[in-house]
């Protein structure tokens, strides 16, 4: 069993962090193999950012595949760019605050909507949208147990304990939303 995930969005949306949290959790608390591969450009700011996470029971060949099982898109341009790579029956997670559902021009994929930009703003910190989305993804796919992912986030934020309650809330809201769409 191998899951190929692509996470894409604007620079600054925490796309890489989302992927790293997931990879780290898989490494720390499972026997599975995992790779995290960031796609990078020459620019330091702006533009699109995306990363690939592969989680597998067996050996991982390519750390970025041609065909994705799961796709998380945080903005419109990423949808246009990556939707063609999603396999038939693949799972598409969109940030429905800014990604227009009507732009999803495929009916052969499963669509999971999460207005994470709005949710983050409601929680008072626009930056936690990636943690909400990670919650949605875990809640829906259960590719790694939710508590393991939370432990990883908790560990990574260890030096900034003030941020923990907010992130916990964000992650749980996400989980709930993901589970509700199963």
């Amino acid at each position: 069993m191998e899951t190929n995930l692509c996470v894409a969005g604007f620079g600054g949306q925490g796309v890489m962090t989302l992927g790293k949290f997931l990879a780290d959790a898989t490494c720390n608390a499972t026997d599975k193999n995992v790779t995290f591969f960031p796609s990078y450009g020459a620019e330091q700011r702006g533009g699109t950012a995306n990363c690939f996470v592969v989680i597998s029971d067996g050996m991982i060949g390519a750390p970025l595949g041609d065909v994705m099982d799961d796709l998380i898109v945080m903005n419109g341009p990423s949808l246009a760019k990556f939707l063609p790579t999603l396999k038939q029956g693949g799972r598409l997670f969109i940030n429905s605050s800014i990604v227009d559902e009507k732009e999803v021009n495929r009916s052969d994929v499963k669509l999971i909507k999460a207005p994470v930009t709005e949710m983050a703003l409601e929680m008072g910190n626009a930056k936690v949208l990636n943690v909400i989305m990670l919650g949605v993804y875990i809640g829906y796919t259960e590719v790694v147990p939710a508590e393991v992912v939370w432990q990883t986030i908790e560990h990574k934020l260890g030096s900034k304990p003030k941020l923990l309650p907010l992130n916990k809330q964000a992650f749980e809201k996400g989980l709930e939303l993901g589970r509700s769409q199963k």
Partner: protein, 359 residues
């Protein structure tokens, strides 16, 4: 030992520290910046030294100096920067100075692309500088292998008094993967390694005409120069025993993929996919790309093998020349190539395999 998720570049740096590397000098270039950045944080913790050189040229020469004074030392760069380092590498090889360096290679030639590539195969394996010297060139295909090979590279370098090159690429360098790290050499072990070099290292010696240290990357005397080269050639010839290669499902294979580094790993997953579909496909993945595992290609059953498929992220193909020497005309050789910073696609390799099987 618990596994930790590490970025390839950082894992290489940590493996070097654990192997006793206590001097690193480097210069920024994508996609290897995490190596000098990691060393800049890590070296002070272990009593080592990090210097950001004013150029790749200066950096490699700082390493040449530190290694000549007996310290396990390392530098790293990416393709165009590695080209600049060739001066210092050639000097270290000529003077028989042990050092380790890593090429996290990117697209080329010239400034090329900052994305991963395998365009430096010839440079790495055939001529990393002037003068026809040779080096062991180790090509990891996973972050774990990058760690293990880096750790081992310092032993090879010390054993042979010669530079060793870790030939990785931007995928291995920038991807994160779980690794188990090798044991940390103790301060005593690190000191002992340095002390063992005190006889020849340039650190100052008692006034004695015969026993001073004289590190010479060349000779005025032509007979001496030839003798040095003969000694080096004999040392290079001894590497036969150090060849490392992964041979996977080769015995009955109708198509054998030949690939190294990141392409080798992708090739291996293609073998698994093909085998699951009943297709007889195998893989030969050189881990030491120099010395090259020519003999591994004698394990192919050429009565059933339709072709060897050379898979590499280089246009024109480079690895293929060693594959040709290894196959010796016993079957056709096909290629599956990409370049320019594009990463080898599993689908493309599958297609190339199917095309051969359909013949």
């Amino acid at each position: 030992m618990a596994r930790v998720l590490m970025k390839g570049c950082e894992a290489i740096a940590e493996a070097a520290v654990r192997a006793g590397c206590r001097f690193f000098a480097g210069y920024p270039i994508t996609p290897q910046n995490e190596i000098p950045e990691y060393f800049s944080r890590r070296m002070p913790e272990v009593g080592g030294t990090f210097v950001q050189g004013e150029s790749e040229v200066a950096s490699v020469n700082m390493v040449y100096g530190a290694a000549s004074a007996g310290t396990r030392s390392m530098t790293s760069s990416s393709s165009p920067g590695i080209a600049l380092k060739s001066e210092g590498i050639s000097y270290a090889a000529a003077a028989r100075i042990p050092m380790v360096y890593a090429n996290i290679s990117r697209g080329g030639p010239g400034v090329g692309a900052i994305q991963p590539a395998q365009q430096d195969y010839f440079q790495a394996t055939k001529a990393s500088g002037n003068g026809g010297f040779e080096m062991m060139v180790l090509a990891p295909s996973t972050v774990q292998e990058a760690v293990d090979l880096t750790y081992k590279a310092f032993d090879y370098a010390d054993r042979d008094h010669n530079p060793v090159l870790i030939l990785a690429d931007g995928v291995i360098g920038t991807m994160m993967e779980p690794v188990e790290l090798p044991p940390m050499k103790s301060d005593e072990e690190v000191a002992a390694i340095k002390a063992a070099k005190a006889g020849w290292a340039c650190i100052g010696h008692k006034l004695d005409y015969a026993n001073r240290s004289w590190i010479q990357p060349g000779q005025w005397d032509t007979k001496k120069m030839q003798a040095e080269n003969e000694k080096a050639a004999a040392m290079y010839a001894s590497w036969e025993k150090d060849i490392q290669v992964e041979e996977y499902q080769v015995a009955d294979a109708e198509v054998v993929i030949a690939a190294y580094g990141i392409s080798g790993r992708i090739g291996k997953s293609v073998v698994d996919i093909c085998r699951a579909a009943g297709k007889k496909v195998g893989l030969i993945r050189p881990i030491t790309v120099h010395p090259f595992p020519y003999a591994a290609f004698d394990h192919i059953d050429y009565s059933v093998c339709k072709a060897v498929l050379d898979v590499e992220m280089s246009i024109p193909a480079q690895l293929v020349q060693d594959v040709r020497m290894a196959v010796k005309g016993r079957c056709p050789i096909e290629t599956c190539l990409c370049s320019g910073g594009n990463i080898m696609s599993r689908e493309a390799v599958l297609k190339a395999v199917d095309a051969i099987l359909a013949k």
